[in-house]
Symmetry: C2
Subunit: 205 residues, 2 copies
Amino acid sequence: MAADTTDNQRPGRRYHHGDLPAALIRTSFELLAEHGLAAFSVAQVARRLDISTAAPYRHFSDRSHLLAAVATTAARELADAIRTAAAGAGADPVDRFAAAAAAYVRFAVSRGAGFNVIYAAGLQELHDQALADAGRQLMDLLIALAEDTGERPKRDRLRLVENLIVLAHGYATLYHDGFFARGRYSLDDIAARASQASRELATPR
Amino acid sequence: MAADTTDNQRPGRRYHHGDLPAALIRTSFELLAEHGLAAFSVAQVARRLDISTAAPYRHFSDRSHLLAAVATTAARELADAIRTAAAGAGADPVDRFAAAAAAYVRFAVSRGAGFNVIYAAGLQELHDQALADAGRQLMDLLIALAEDTGERPKRDRLRLVENLIVLAHGYATLYHDGFFARGRYSLDDIAARASQASRELATPR
DNA sequence: GTCTATATATTGATAGAC
DNA sequence: GTCTATCAATATATAGAC
């Protein structure tokens, strides 16, 4: 893959940052949204910030620890986005549940980070408490939204949460990977589809 | 990432193949199932086959053309698997539709290739006719299965196909990425969940 | 805290011997 | 058709100068 023109390393034009850790996390989101988790590299983050490739390692011991910080931020911001969407969807629990699915799709596509990053395989081994807590709170939020949609056995409630996650993540992933590109769907279209399918699954019958 | 112990390159133990192109495709599926599309490399395929890294390029001009051959095989075999599953599910169109979702999940997880590979962004630019045909036939099969489930406007039928794809691909992807690992779900559990959700969305209400 | 420079690994891909 | 050898990129990560 050719380097972005904005990532060219030009010695002599480097500069210092007031808050490099925050800048690293912010730029990581940009690259995740553009190229996905698989293509994420510390070196590319550094290039885009016009700093040396060594600089990030002063603040994060390795690639995984930077990604863990990104994942923690993502989990918190995603939970906020879902809370805001649910609050704006009114009083009907099914409306709120469906709004959560749309919010997930928009967040995952625009920021490049969803459950794949928050629960990424390599990050669980770090036993990062902040990440574990943020992930847990995100799950608890989704479970609460599912429970509100109707009386169900606990197992069915959990499966409803699972359905929302899979639908929203599936739409976001396939959209990012270009599967829907030839259909000329916009991000709003995709979010609406995930939302509608979640609504149908959540509606008692 | 450390190389697999089975991928160690040991000069002196190399051998020739009767049908290297077929072996390359077969081994590519193995690596896709283990590490996913993002980690796929021609070099690793060669290492596992105990051949030089140059050998594959006698049969496929570059990485993309090898992947296109893999994707074409995947599309055909996936369509076969779905046809077989539908045929074994009986006469009820909803049963057949649900069986297709389960078949997709099993295929995508066990072979490492689903819509993400068949419709991978980089492969569309090759304008490979065999791949395009195989992908089209796969889609036509899913559309036919969706149409059989009930009278619907064309737009709703297409969205039902889309829902199946997203659900099945989402379950397969998140399972492969380890999201369901801590829940101790088996592949059969995951396939059943994708199937059940597809069934609910396909059931007229 | 950031830089330069470096060590090491892996990749995609090619040239030329056999 | 396969091998050896090699090149240019790119990656992670570290040592030591400033």
